[in-house]
Amino acid sequence: MLITMKETNLGRREFLKTLGVAGAGILAATSPWLSAFSEVNHTAKDRCRIGVIGPGSRGQFLMGFLAQNPKADIVAIADIYQPSIDGALKIAPKAKVYKDYRRLLADPEVDGVIVATPLNTHYGIVMDAFDAGKHVYCEKTIGYTMEECFNMYNRHLSSGRLFFTGQQRLFDPRYIKVMDLVHQGTFGKISAVNAYWNRNGDWRREVPDPSLEKFINWRLYGESSRGLMSELGCHQLQIGTWAFGKLPDRVMGHGGITFWKDGREVHDNVHCIYGYDTGESLTYGSVISNKFYGLEEKIMGNLGTVEPESGKYYFEEVAPAPAFLQMINSWENKLFDEIPFAGTSWAPETANVNKGELILGERPKTDGTSLLVDAFVEAVITGKQPARIAEEGYYASLLCLWGHKAIETGQILPFPEEYKIDYAAYGTKKFNPVTDTQA
């Protein structure tokens, strides 16, 4: 059990301490993927061998956590770009270097692989990895198309190999605590989740040679990326479904290139509305020519609002100040208030001045990535797939690709039933093409 396990890693220890021992049992029910750490005691002396395919910036970021984990050995890397190889070797100097990922997959000394390559290459690599008997951690979005995601998930099931996706918020203490509170009804009926990720930058990487433009800046081109939806939206859409505990049934969207007209093919501003049959809505927007509002997911209930990124929640009804202070305040108002002259005859309904409360009692320190990587290491050692982690990643990918399709077509799209999988948490079951199409 999570409650009794003795942590061997500072991050995990801090993690559970932060959440509170009393809550750990409940968390095992609401966030069952944490069961990845359930055998952390028994595996104290075990090690696993990890290969990293695509050790670019994200790959090296993940390697940094692997290098700190005493249970993981980075035994091999595969890339075709020498600067990435050089950077990765600084983290794992003893790793074997492959130019062809298939040779890494054929290496019997590799137990599991981390795939951090451009989006359009995930499918081939992950399918080959499952076929080669390797456990897989694939960065989000897992596939370039919904069909690819579906096939990858099914191959995970049929191969019996582990499948982790880069949804680090599943391991972020803030989000785990928030979802626990949301599902307990602390914030009342959740009517909307409003997610956005805004930046002010061109999203470009430096290119040493123009011939490498599409190779390095793959995020900007349609043949290799779904743009902001796949690279940023995937994280936040998963927060919406996690909060609602169900999938939307329709989506509409709009996007365009409004500012960064530099030859890119993906939109620099996107907005999608995902609607539920029961009326709730999940919205996602991303603009990369304005960073004022930054990054957030606003989970809005009739009793309160949660903003997990900033680590705070706000109740609608704030406890009034002591009566004595209210009295003093009213005296001040009577003394100093000016009589309005030719002003507006109405007051705009602006947000309340409400400083809120910190979800964990302190400012956020981590985004869960280190724990996600640690969980993968634990799972590779035990060979046990933590509950629901693949499914959460699958549906997160599906939502962003579905939204992207809505933007591209300009239509209101129903949920693609053919890609529903068995997942009790969202109340979905596998689509049966024979029985489900009969009138």
């Binding site: 009034p320 009566a323 004595f324």
Partner: protein, 78 residues
């Protein structure tokens, strides 16, 4: 240098002013509790606000009294 003599009588008088200030502040707190429909426990939880307001009221009484004494002193000199 002249000694400042703070007689027992004047001490009692100042304490009386302080007590009156405290009673006024406490009554104002009670009135506010009733007016804003707040819990009576605020009679205790707002004690430090009441205390601060007591000092404020006391200071208010102190200023005119000091001014009065200064003026009286000047008049006697003349």
């Amino acid at each position: 240098m002249k000694d400042i003599v703070f007689t027992a009588r004047s001490q009692k008088r100042e304490l009386l002013y302080l007590l009156i200030s405290f009673v006024i502040a406490a009554l104002l707190n009670l009135g506010a509790i009733l007016y804003y429909d707040a819990p009576m426990s605020e009679m205790f939880t707002s004690f430090f606000y009441v205390l601060a307001f007591t000092l404020f009221l006391y200071a208010l009484t102190l200023i005119p009294r000091l001014l009065y004494r200064l003026l009286r002193k000047e008049r006697r000199k003349n």
